[in-house]
């Protein structure tokens, strides 16, 4: 492939949306209220829409026969490079919201910068996506506040979810080789520069929501190198089932 770094860089962005979209899609029909059900389905829909744009572009760059679906559904687990955060399960609505919130704040900052990419396709996808992600961020932040400043029970549940998922936040700001090369070419976003703002913004909302900001300084990583938690394998069995069981067919 002529531009393997760009290809890898796109997957690094898109895999996050793919896996988070899949997690949100699991909830359809099972939400705590009709309104949240619609919102979660909508987030899933937006994310998969973005995923298609990214993978279509990646397929074009690859320049061989591979399609968006091949990229989405026919890689091995070790080839998915999403951050560990997005693959964490829907333990309960608090985990779903905490995961979404911790990702949305990053996602919004990331897309804001990606709009300035020298790569016009990526810049265009970012511009289109940021409107959606701005809504996601509002939705998840509002729920952080509702749960944090709601009842004793909801406060304890959302605090617990934030504490558990906190360990996966640092990885958002790690760089793999392709990231560094793309930053050098003014195509990629230098995520290391987003970190301070990210924690400021997250901490501000948690504080407004009457929640404690976790103090732990121990973080997990591995997703960006394809070493995932044990949750991802099961998600992929479902995601890939049809493409694996019925190879080379049109749908």
């Amino acid at each position: 492939m002529k531009n393997q770094n760009l290809y890898n860089y796109i997957l690094g962005i898109a895999d996050n949306s793919l896996i988070l979209g899949q997690r949100m899609g699991e909830l359809t029909g099972h939400g705590p209220s009709l309104e949240t059900d619609i919102a979660c389905t909508n987030i899933s829909l937006d994310l998969f829409g973005q995923v298609r744009s990214y993978y279509q572009y990646a397929a074009k760059i690859a320049g061989d026969k591979r399609t968006e679906d091949d990229i989405a559904m026919l890689r091995k687990e070790r080839e998915y490079v999403n951050v560990l955060l997005v693959e964490q399960p829907n333990t309960d609505f608090a985990y779903t919201i905490a995961r979404q919130f911790l990702f949305d704040v990053y996602h919004f900052m990331f897309l804001t910068e990606l709009q300035k990419s020298r790569d016009v396709t990526l810049s265009a996808i970012a511009t289109k996506s940021i409107k959606e992600v701005s809504y996601h961020q509002r939705f998840s932040s509002d729920w952080i506040k509702r749960l944090g400043d709601g009842t004793e029970k909801s406060k304890s549940k959302i605090q617990n979810a934030i504490d558990s998922l906190w360990t996966y936040t640092d990885e958002l700001f790690h760089q793999v080789e392709a990231d560094k090369v793309m930053v050098g070419e003014n195509i990629g976003v230098d995520v290391t520069q987003l970190k301070d703002n990210y924690y400021q913004r997250v901490n501000a909302i948690l504080t407004e929501a009457m929640l404690e900001v976790p103090e732990s300084k121990w973080f997990q990583k591995g997703g960006k190198e394809g070493v995932h938690t044990e949750h991802l394998g099961y998600l992929l069995s479902d995601l890939q089932y049809m493409q694996r069981a019925y190879p080379n067919m049109d749908w």
Partner: protein, 318 residues
């Protein structure tokens, strides 16, 4: 009010309906009109909500990203339909929680078709093509029904349903023109969904209750048997076109009537499913009630938060 006054109001009311005027929430209406509408509209709303489950079952396993996006959008539309219909229902003075309660305790019904399992991807095609197809035939006349909020909700619902129906048929076309395995999958789905879809149009006319009154109120404009015939006449050529076989050996074109004759429907199965003994009745209610119960603390938190916010505003205002 005296009996005479009521009689008078009723006469005016029926006259308005006869003149095709819409009845609005603040208008006077007979109690029976209100109750019948709550029953029918809520049943319709519940069907949209329960209907999310069999299709939701394939979201994580959709075979392509394009299909996954379309399926998510479709199920989201169904949730949206549920939302309009519950709102329309609330205009008649019943709360959403009361409606949910009726659903969760089994007091209210929903369309029995959703008590069948979705066992292959082709079921997403069959549901769109057949189930939404039958639903549209039931629903299009309701765009002109007498109760304003219901009629307006149905205009929107029908527009989207018709899109879903085309989308479902398109899935079937793709499968029917695909590999032998795909074609087999499509035929199998048609085999399993055909008869339940015919049953969706309701019991035969001689077994159907409420019909006359419903006709007058434009809650119903054709009989179940007429609707069923319309569905069959419309669907058989669509199956022929893509080379799928309707699983009814008695099905044949009748030159004389200008309609398809068709075989006997297994009404025992229909009533069994209606009574709660279908393959998925228990699972559907378990999923629904489970989601509702697991969501209680979330809804409580939202209420508590809104109350606190309101209190703070009031304090600031003082």
């Amino acid at each position: 009010m005296s009996e005479e006054q009521i009689k008078n109001l009723e006469t005016q009311f029926e006259a308005r309906i006869a003149r095709d005027e819409k009845i609005e929430p603040k208008d006077w209406m007979p109690e029976k009109y209100r109750k019948t509408h709550i029953r029918q509209m809520s049943q319709h709303a519940h069907s949209e909500i329960i209907g999310m489950l069999p299709e939701g079952n394939w979201i994580t396993r959709a075979p392509s990203l394009r299909r996954k996006v379309a399926l998510l959008a479709k199920v989201q539309d169904e949730a949206g339909h549920g939302l309009y219909l519950y709102s329309a229902c609330e205009t008649l003075g019943i709360s959403r929680n009361e409606l949910y309660d009726q659903l969760h305790t089994g007091k209210a019904k929903y369309s029995s078709i959703f008590n069948y399992p979705t066992v292959t991807w082709a079921d997403m095609g069959a549901i769109g093509w057949l189930v939404d197809g039958a639903a549209i035939i039931n629903q299009v006349p309701l765009c002109n029904t007498s109760y304003g909020p219901y009629a307006r909700a149905m205009v929107r619902v029908c527009k989207e349903e018709s899109f879903h129906q085309r989308q479902g048929y398109e899935i079937m076309i793709k499968l029917a023109n695909g590999t032998p395995e795909q074609k087999e999958m499509a035929q199998d789905a048609l085999n399993r969904w055909w008869w339940p879809s015919l049953m969706m149009l309701g019991p035969t006319d001689d077994k159907s209750v409420h019909t006359e009154q419903s006709m007058k109120w434009k809650l119903k404009r054709k009989s179940n048997d007429d609707l069923r015939q319309q569905f069959i006449d419309q669907t058989v050529p669509q199956a022929d076109l893509i080379g799928l076989t309707i699983p009814d050996p008695d099905l044949k074109w009748n030159e004389e009537t200008g309609h398809y004759d068709f075989g006997e429907i297994n009404w025992d199965e229909f009533w069994q499913v209606v009574k709660g003994h279908g393959p998925m009745n228990k699972e559907r209610m378990k999923a629904r009630v489970g989601a509702w119960e697991r969501g209680e603390w979330v809804r409580d938190a939202a209420v508590a938060y809104a109350d606190k916010k309101q209190n703070r505003k009031e304090k600031q205002a003082v």
